[in-house]
C-alpha cells in the first residue's frame, strides 16, 4: 500500500524542507550532541569548574610555596618541580571531568531523553560515538588551554627564584599535553561507565571507586603483591603521562602507562557499546 501524498494543509506545516533534508548521519548526530552538551546549565558549570581548577590550582600552590620559600626545608626546595606544579591542577579537574563524563549519558537515562536520542538514531552506536567524540574534543581543548595557562602562570611566579622551566625543557611540553590527554581519556572512561550502568549514582560510584578507592584497597595488600599491582591501577598508569618526575621503579614508563590507561577506557567503552546495541532502551 502506498501512502497518499501529504498535503501541507495544516497551517504552519511545510512538507518540503523537512522531508528534503535526508537522513541521519554520524556528522549530524555529532552536531546534535554538541547542541545537547552546551544546552544544559549543569554541563556549563561543570566545565567551568574543571577549567578553573585546572588553571588555578597550580598557580595558587606555586604562589604559596614562593611566599614561604625561605622557610622551606632543603629537601622540599630540592624536590620542587615547576612543571609538576604547573600541570597539577588535574588533581582537582579530574573529578569534574569524570563526574560530567558520567552525567553526559546517565542524565539521558534518568530523564528519559535516551529514548528520544535512540529514536532519532536507531542504530544507536552513532549516539555513543558522537557523545564520546564531542566530550573528548571539548575536554581536550579546554584542559589543554587551562594547563597552558597554569603552566605559564606558575613559571612566571617561580621565576623570581629561578625555578622556571620553558615548554622546550625536557618533559615540559609532554606533561602539559599529557595532562590534557589523560583528562580526555578519563572523561571517555567515565562516559563509558555511565553508559554501561545507565545510572548517575552508580556511574559516579564506579568512577570514583575505580580511580580513587581502588589504590587504597591495593595498598592494604601485602607489600610485594601491592607493589606489583599498583603500577597497573588506572590512576597510576594515567599519571605517568602528566608528570615530569615519574621515572621510579614503582611506575610504568610514560607512554606505556598511558597506553594501559587507554586500554581500560577502551574496554569499558566497548562493553558499553555492546550493551547499548543489545539491551532494550
Amino acid at each position: 500500500m502506498s501512502a497518499p501524498a501529504l498535503s501541507p494543509a495544516v497551517p504552519g506545516r511545510v512538507a518540503g524542507p523537512a522531508a528534503a533534508g535526508g537522513g541521519v548521519t554520524q556528522a549530524r548526530v555529532v552536531r546534535a550532541e554538541w547542541t545537547k552538551l552546551w544546552s544544559l546549565r549543569s554541563t556549563r558549570w561543570s566545565l567551568l569548574a574543571a577549567v578553573v581548577a585546572q588553571a588555578a590550582l597550580g598557580i595558587i600552590v606555586a604562589a604559596a610555596q614562593m611566599s614561604r620559600w625561605g622557610s622551606l626545608s632543603p629537601h622540599d626546595r630540592a624536590t620542587f618541580d615547576s612543571i609538576d606544579v604547573g600541570v597539577g591542577g588535574y588533581h582537582l579537574s579530574q573529578l569534574a571531568i569524570g563526574v560530567l563524563g558520567v552525567l553526559v549519558i546517565s542524565g539521558e537515562y534518568s530523564t528519559g531523553m535516551i529514548r528520544s536520542s535512540l529514536m532519532a538514531a536507531p542504530r544507536r552506536l552513532p549516539v555513543l560515538w558522537a557523545k564520546l567524540g564531542v566530550y573528548a574534543a571539548v575536554t581536550f581543548v579546554l584542559m589543554l588551554v587551562s594547563a597552558l595557562v597554569s603552566f605559564f602562570g606558575v613559571q612566571a611566579i617561580v621565576s623570581g627564584h629561578h625555578l622556571q622551566h620553558g615548554l622546550g625543557d625536557p618533559h615540559a611540553l609532554r606533561a602539559v599535553v599529557g595532562t590534557a590527554l589523560f583528562l580526555t581519556v578519563l572523561g571517555a572512561l567515565a562516559l563509558g561507565l555511565g553508559a554501561l550502568l545507565r545510572n548517575t549514582a552508580g556511574g559516579i560510584a564506579a568512577f570514583v571507586g575505580l580511580m580513587f578507592v581502588l589504590p587504597g584497597v591495593v595498598a592494604l595488600l601485602p607489600g610485594s603483591i601491592g607493589d606489583s599491582i599498583s603500577p597497573y591501577l588506572p590512576i597510576n598508569a594515567a599519571f605517568t603521562v602528566a608528570t615530569s618526575t615519574f621515572d621510579g621503579p614503582h611506575h610504568l614508563a610514560t607512554w606505556t602507562g598511558f597506553a594501559v590507561f587507554c586500554g581500560y577506557a577502551a574496554i569499558v567503552v566497548l562493553a558499553a557499546a555492546v550493551q547499548l546495541v543489545r539491551r532494550d532502551a
Binding site: 495544516v10 528519559g112 529514536m119
Partner: protein, 314 residues
Amino acid sequence: MIEIEHVTKRYGEKLAVDDLSFVVRPGIVTGFLGPNGAGKSTTMRMILGLDAPTRGSVRVNGRRYRDLAAPLHEIGALLEARAIHTGRSAANHLLAMAQTHGIPRSRVDEVIDLVGLRDVARKRAGAFSLGMGQRLGIASALLGDPRTVILDEPVNGLDPEGILWIRTLLKGLAAEGRTVFLSSHLMSEMALTAEHLVIIGRGRLIADTTVEEVVRQASLDAAVRVRTPDAAALRDALAGDGVIVESSAAGVLEVRGAPSERIGEIAAREGLVLHELTPQRASLEDAYLRLTGDAVEYHTGDGGRAAGDLELVA
C-alpha cells in the same frame, strides 16, 4: 503503515506481548485499546525500536525501525514516559533532535508555534506542566513531518481544552493521509477520536475492528426491558433459540438475544399485554469492559500480584 506480525515480548518470566498481529493503516486514526498492563506501551516501544521483540517482526512503512534511514521523517512518537531532558529548553531539545536529520531551524520554530509553546520555548522543560510537556512531546513527534504518528496515552492528565486540541490535531493528521495510532485505556475517548480499534488484553489480540462495529455489537448484546402483567407466559413464549430471560422484579423481564421488534411480535401473537418494551443502550464502555473482562490484568483486590508485575510492563 505499521505491521505487527506474530510478535511476542518476554521480560524474564513475564510475557508482556503474546503472538500479537495487526496492521495500522494510513488515512484513519487507529485506537490501541487495552486495560493497564495489557502490553500497549511495550508494543509501541517495539514499533519504535526501543525494545526488541523476543519473536516476530515489527515494520514501519515496510521496514524495521532500526533500518529507517531517516526515522523522524517516517514516524513521530509521543511516549507516555517523558523522553526529554528536564534541564534543557524546549527549543534546544527540538533543535538537537532536528540536527540529527539535518532538519532546518525554521522547522523547529514552526512546530513550536504549531503546539503553542512559543512563550515558554526558552524555559527548562523540567518546569513544564503536564499539558505543556505533552505539547512539547507532540512538537517532537511532528518535527520531521512524519507519515506515521504514534502516541501513547496522549490525553492522560490533560484538561478538556487540551484533549479537544489533540483530538482535532490527530483527525487533521489522518485526513492528510497519515497513519495515526494512539493508545488509551479509555473507550470513551477512543470513540470520539478513532475510526478503527485494535483491542488487546494480557498481550493478546482481542479485537481488530471498527468503532462502528463495536457499537453495533454492544447494542446487539444489550438487554430489552419488558414490563408485563403476563410475565410467566411471555417467558415461556420467548424461551429457546438463544434467548435469555431474566427477571429482576415481579412483572419485569430483561431479555437478551432477541431484538425488541421480535419480542413485540411474539407478545402480539400470543395475545400478551405489554406495558413497556425498551431496548437498553449498552454504553461503549460496557462493550469494551465485556470484551476485555477476562483479560484485565489487575483486578482490584489483587494487590499482591499487581505490585509484583506492574513495573515490568509499565
